[in-house]
C-alpha cells in the first residue's frame, strides 16, 4: 500500500511577461487501489500538476509538498521519481529520433528495475502487451513516437504503463484525440494493470467519456489552479450535464455556489 500526498502545492512558471502563478494551493492524497479523476476546463492547470509531479524543469514549486510514502518527491530528479514508482502518461508524448522503441523500452525497464530484464520473457511480455493494445509489431523497430499518430502515441504511453508497472500512474488527457475503439483499448490497458492491485491512478481529463471505461472513486474539479469541488463519481455525471460554467463564473466572482 502506497500513498502519494500533495499538500498545498503552489507552482509558477517563467514566461516572457514575467512569473506566472499557475497552481494556487492544491492538496490531494491518492492511495494504491484508488482512481482519482481530475477534471477541469482548458488552462486550469491540470497538465501543470501532472508535469510538476514528474519533475519537469519548467515548473517552479513555490511552496507546498509532494511525498511518496513519506519520501520528498520534490527533492528527487526526474529519473529518480520514475524509479520511485511515478509514471506520467503525457498529453503530448515526445518524439525521440535515433532510438527505437525496442531499445527505449529495454533501457527504461533496466533503469527502473536496476537490472536488465531476462531477454526471453521481456520480449514476450512486450509482444503481448503490444498485441493487447493493438499496436503493430513493426512499431518495435520504429523510433520512439516518431511519426506516430496522436492515437498511436497514446497507446504507446499505456504500453509503457503496462510494462513499467508504476506505483502511481498519472494520465494526462490520455483520452483526447482517441476514437471510441481506441479509447476502449487504452482504458482496458489501464484497467488490466490496475486490476493487479498495486497501482493508484490520477486520471486527468476534460471529458467524462473515458470515465465510462475507467471508473473513478473520486472526482476533483480543477479551476484556476485550485480544486474547486470534490466528490464521488456522481460529480462527473453532474459535470457532464452542466459543464464547467458554474465553476468558471464562480472563479471570476470568487464565490462557489453548490
Amino acid at each position: 500500500m502506497s500513498t502519494l500526498e500533495i499538500k498545498d502545492l503552489h507552482v509558477s512558471i517563467e514566461t516572457e511577461q514575467g512569473t506566472k502563478q499557475i497552481l494556487k494551493g492544491v492538496s490531494l492524497t491518492i492511495q494504491t487501489g484508488e482512481i482519482h479523476a481530475i477534471m477541469g476546463p482548458n488552462g486550469s492547470g491540470k497538465s501543470t500538476l501532472a508535469a510538476t509531479i514528474a519533475g519537469h524543469p519548467r515548473y517552479t514549486v513555490d511552496s507546498g509538498s509532494i511525498t511518496l510514502d513519506g519520501e520528498d518527491v520534490l527533492e528527487m530528479s526526474v529519473d529518480e521519481r520514475a524509479r520511485a514508482g511515478l509514471f506520467l502518461a503525457m498529453q503530448y508524448p515526445v518524439e525521440v529520433p535515433g532510438v527505437t522503441m525496442t531499445n527505449f523500452l529495454r533501457t527504461a525497464k533496466t533503469a527502473l528495475d536496476g537490472e536488465a530484464p531476462s531477454l526471453r520473457t521481456w520480449t514476450k511480455e512486450v509482444k503481448e502487451a503490444m498485441a493487447h493494445l493493438r499496436i503493430d509489431a513493426d512499431f518495435a523497430q520504429r523510433n520512439v513516437n516518431e511519426g506516430f499518430s496522436g492515437g498511436e502515441k497514446k497507446r504507446v504511453e499505456i504500453l509503457q504503463l503496462e510494462l513499467f508497472k508504476p506505483k502511481f500512474a498519472i494520465m494526462d488527457e490520455t483520452d483526447s484525440g482517441l476514437d471510441v475503439d481506441a479509447l476502449k483499448v487504452v482504458s482496458e490497458g489501464h484497467n488490466r494493470e490496475f486490476a493487479r492491485g498495486a497501482m493508484g491512478t490520477l486520471l486527468i481529463t476534460h471529458y467524462t467519456r473515458i470515465l465510462r471505461y475507467i471508473k473513478p472513486d473520486f472526482v476533483h474539479v480543477f479551476v484556476d489552479g485550485k480544486i474547486a469541488e470534490e466528490g464521488g463519481p456522481e460529480l462527473a455525471d453532474r459535470l457532464e450535464e452542466e459543464g464547467y460554467d458554474r465553476f468558471l463564473a464562480a472563479a471570476a466572482t470568487g464565490t462557489v455556489k453548490a
Binding site: A54, G55, H56, P57, S77, V78, D79, R81, A82, R83, L88, M90, P93, V94, E95, V96, P97, G98, V99, T100, N103, F104, T107, A108, A111, L112, V144, E146, G147, Q160, F164
Partner: protein, 424 residues
Amino acid sequence: MTEMTEKARIGAPSAAPVIDGFTEEGENLSPLNAGPVKAHSHGGGVGVPDSSRAGRLTSYKLADFAPLTGREEDWRFTPLKRLRGLHTDALTGAAPKIAVSGPNGSEAPAGITVETVGRDDARIGTAGIPEDRVAAAAWEAFAEATVITIPAELQAETGVIVSVNGHSKDPAAQHIVIVAEKFSKAVVVLDHKGSATLSQNVEVDVRDGADLTVVSVQEWDDDAVHASAQAARIGRDAKFKHVAVNLGGDLVRVTPASKFTQPGGEVEMYGLYFADAGQHLEQRLFVDHAVPNCKSRVLYKGALQGKGAHTVWVGDVLIRKEAEGTDTYEVNRNLVLTDGARADSVPNLEIETGLIEGAGHASATGRFDDEQLFYLMARGIPEDDARRLVVRGFLFEIIQQIKVPALEERLAAAVERELAAGNI
C-alpha cells in the same frame, strides 16, 4: 524496368517529411567565403562550367584549376582560411607514415601485397582523376605511392589495417592505390591518426567480381587538416562498400566517388561523423551511374555538438543517359545535440534517363532537445544514459556496417568519448 518512379526527384531539395527542429537544407556560403557571386557556378578552369556534376572539370594538372575563392559550388561550405595552405602552397611537407597490418597490430592477412612505387607506376591513375584544385595539387606533388593489392580470388579472413600516422603540420601530399583483383574479397581500413596538413588521393580499383570494403577513419588530433579524394572504379558485377568515419581533426573534407564502369556493379556508401565545437567535417560523395543495371545505396549520419560545430553533406548521384536499369537511393540524417551547431545537407540527384528501376533521396536534420531528455528521464533513464542512448542509437546503424569487430568496438568507444568530451 519501369519508368522513373514517383520518388525520383531531380536535383530538388529533399521533400522528406521533416522532423521537429528541422533546419533548412544548407544553401548558404560558408560565412568565411560569403561573397556576391551566385551559387551554382564553377570557378573558371578549362572544361565547361556546368551545374551538372557531369560537367565538372577533371584534370591531373594543378594549373587547370583556378585558385579557389570559396565561392565555387564545391567549396562554398569550406572555410578556406582553415585549410592551412592546402589550396595555395606547394605540398612539400613530409607525408604521414604508412604501416600495414592486421587488426590490433596482428600480421596483415597472408597474400596481400604492399608496395611503395614511383609516380610512373602503371596503376596510378587507373581509378581517379582530380576534380578539384586541392586534389590536383596533391597529384602533382606526391613523390611515391603506396599500392595495396588483394590478389585475384583471395578471400582475406581479417581486415587489412593501413595506419596513416601524421607527425608534421607542413602541407603534404599522399597517394594510395588499393587494387582488389578479380573475385577477391577484403576489408581495408585507412586509419588516420596524429597531426597533419594533408591532401590525399586514394584510388580504389575494384575489378570484375571483386567484393571490397574500404573504411576510412579520420580520428586525427584536434589540429589536423585533411582533404581526401577517394575515387573508386567499379568493375563488372563487383561490389564496393565505402565507409567514411569522420571524428577527429580541425577540418576534414572527404570526397568519396564511385564510378560504375561495367554493368552489374553494386555500391554501398556509408558515413558517420561527429563534430565537436569548432570542428568542420565535410563529406561530399559522388556516385556516377555511367553504365546500365547498377545499384547504389548511400546512408550518412552525423551528430553535432558545441558552438561552431559544422558538418556538410553533399550527395551527388548522377544517372547518365546510358545507365538504364539504375537503382539508387541516398539518405542523410543529422542529429543536432546542442545550440550553435550547424548541419548542411544537400542531396543532388540528376537523372538523364527515364528507364530506371528507382531513384530517390531523403535528408533530415533533427534536434535532441530538453523535452526529449525529459521524456526519457521520466521513464527512469538517467540523464547521461539518455543522451548516450540517443546518439548511440542514431549512429550505431553505420558502425554496424563496418563488419570488423575490433574496429566497430573502437568506433563505438570513440563516439562515447566524443559524448563525454562534449560534456553535454
